[in-house]
Symmetry: C2
Amino acid sequence: MNHQIRRTTTRLADDRELIYFDDSEPYVSGGATRRLDDPRPLGDDGGAGADRAAAGHAPVPEGPEMRFDVLTGEWIPLAAHRMNRTFLPPANACPLCPATPGSDYSDGEIPDTAYDVVVFENRFPSFASVPGTAPDTEWSLDGEALWPVRPAFGRCEVVCFTDRHDAAFAALSPQRVRTVIEAWADRTTALAELDGVEQVFCFENRGREIGVTLNHPHGQIYGYPFVTPRTAALLRQSEAHHARTGRKLLTDVLEAERRAGTRVVLETPYWTAYVPAAARWPVEVHLAPNRDVPDLPALTDAERDDLAIAYLELLRRLDLFFVSPDGTPVPLPYIAGWHQAPVREGRDLARLHLQVFSVLRAAGKLKYLAGSESGMGAWVSDTTPERIAARLRELAP
Amino acid sequence: MNHQIRRTTTRLADDRELIYFDDSEPYVSGGATRRLDDPRPLGDDGGAGADRAAAGHAPVPEGPEMRFDVLTGEWIPLAAHRMNRTFLPPANACPLCPATPGSDYSDGEIPDTAYDVVVFENRFPSFASVPGTAPDTEWSLDGEALWPVRPAFGRCEVVCFTDRHDAAFAALSPQRVRTVIEAWADRTTALAELDGVEQVFCFENRGREIGVTLNHPHGQIYGYPFVTPRTAALLRQSEAHHARTGRKLLTDVLEAERRAGTRVVLETPYWTAYVPAAARWPVEVHLAPNRDVPDLPALTDAERDDLAIAYLELLRRLDLFFVSPDGTPVPLPYIAGWHQAPVREGRDLARLHLQVFSVLRAAGKLKYLAGSESGMGAWVSDTTPERIAARLRELAP
């Protein structure tokens, strides 16, 4: 069915964009407008550009920069200004809760007193556009050709899934999840249109164990100025597979998983969840559309409706995955990320899928990324994909 | 100077090799021989092979397996047997402490009652050889060509830096560090000679914050059956640089760092420490020999003597890097890993260097690897390399 949304765009006092996505009448939010009297101080960049200028080097563009790591071939943004970001504030000072009627909004990000789903530009972004600076401006660190530098151009947004501080994504109604899907698709399209954005990543970090600094249910959206390393590796693999077989790698993976069956966790009319054959995390599952789709905006209404159901069922089982010694389930800290086709590169070979994974390897026990993983990028799994899948199947309704 | 070592090889009751490296007369260890009466149970593999056999599939070689991750092009060993490994035992049951005179050794790994430095095969290895199985034996998971599987062949060793449970690497004497260097070089040569080992990695994980399960000062050595992803990326970059310039990438990086000077932390006659231009960790420093050297065994005696001094000075400063609010320094949790030339591939382009880094971004604050880093492999630094270097220079004697 067509999901009715009221989309209202406004701007915060520091000119950041904020967009409400309301899904039920009477539409609860969207009435608040730009607050020119927002009393909060704006952050300065505090980054490397300032250091460099102070050191007497040639002037470089304002704003955060990213440096090319010649040892790995990856771009590393330097977001030193993020060191001061808000860290686990008390619930009554949560910046993601709606404003209290009559308040001066001095602690919060959201001007209105209620909302369904809201998206706004991150106040502590890893990537940001700098007016008057082209995304592909490039200079050399210390005048050395080995070390190209560019503005850390791009966009970072926050998505609040609900205005209820103590809820969780898994506790949302299918209708609200459907609205989140609309917001993800909307932002994927919008960010892809920004000059210089090469890839859009919608993700959620859930749980203090993975460093979440705000408990209010929320996710993030990054518009990267490059194709990320994981996607670059996937495209390399996909190109090699296509050259060998004439086929799309992720389609063949899905078909092989369905044939094998041993790692399939759930199947709905339009979606399949499976633990990948070489899963590296203690808990890991991929959720893929049965139809070849490059990204979220390409999903049909029926696929989006079905996704809301499938994803909620998957999250329900993940929160039952581990049980503490007294028999109570341990809500799973997880990272959930949407792998979408990049904006330009490799769109014909990429295929949408959601990757959900956890660093928890048992109730109260984390998998740490130590010497082999962090030093060498060489992973060792502490379990088997078949064991993860068996547990997730055992939790079916 | 030539550093005198007494090297004594023995075997544990379960046939694991153990090697003492003693550096001072009277040599304190090496008297204990193979203990055929070791009462400890041997671990079973408990891994995927057993699952697969139980599921009625064709028999596969015994022992842990590794699967090819077709999405990334990386091998992922499944070490499910490691789930049961020893976790932070009390000091009086430390398996890395020397045996107590008259004890039955039932808790410990080390048969002798004192030692300088000792290396032994890990009882919970991620990689291990399986008698009668060739390292390159390959089969297909579920009969699918997409999913090659091999034995997780290789070798994992533990290095105890001292028999003092409450010491730290940074508290060792230069003479003892020199002995550790001898042990690293010895094991690099020995593991490289094992059929199928492609890369040798000597590393130390220090601190509970990165998941260290035993407090006794120790490191590890992995003999991998593949070139690790980080090294593969470095070789790709080095090949491209060589094709473009005819020069060795890491030599040019060291020369550029010395020219720029802003990130150089310390210089000794044979070694230079610098924060790399695109450092991604909150604290990161590389220590490289001034001479082109592929690996630890290729170091001269003079370079080894000087390394002991340089590394101890670097560790001293790292332990002063962060200060808690009451003014006391915070011992830095760190990962220190030796990047060496692989056994076969790219030896002419690789260059030895030590990478020391930390997940601590302030006293009591960890950098977590969340959606961008763990999901997309896309790093965001919370600081700048110049700030890290300035702090490390400020701590010079």
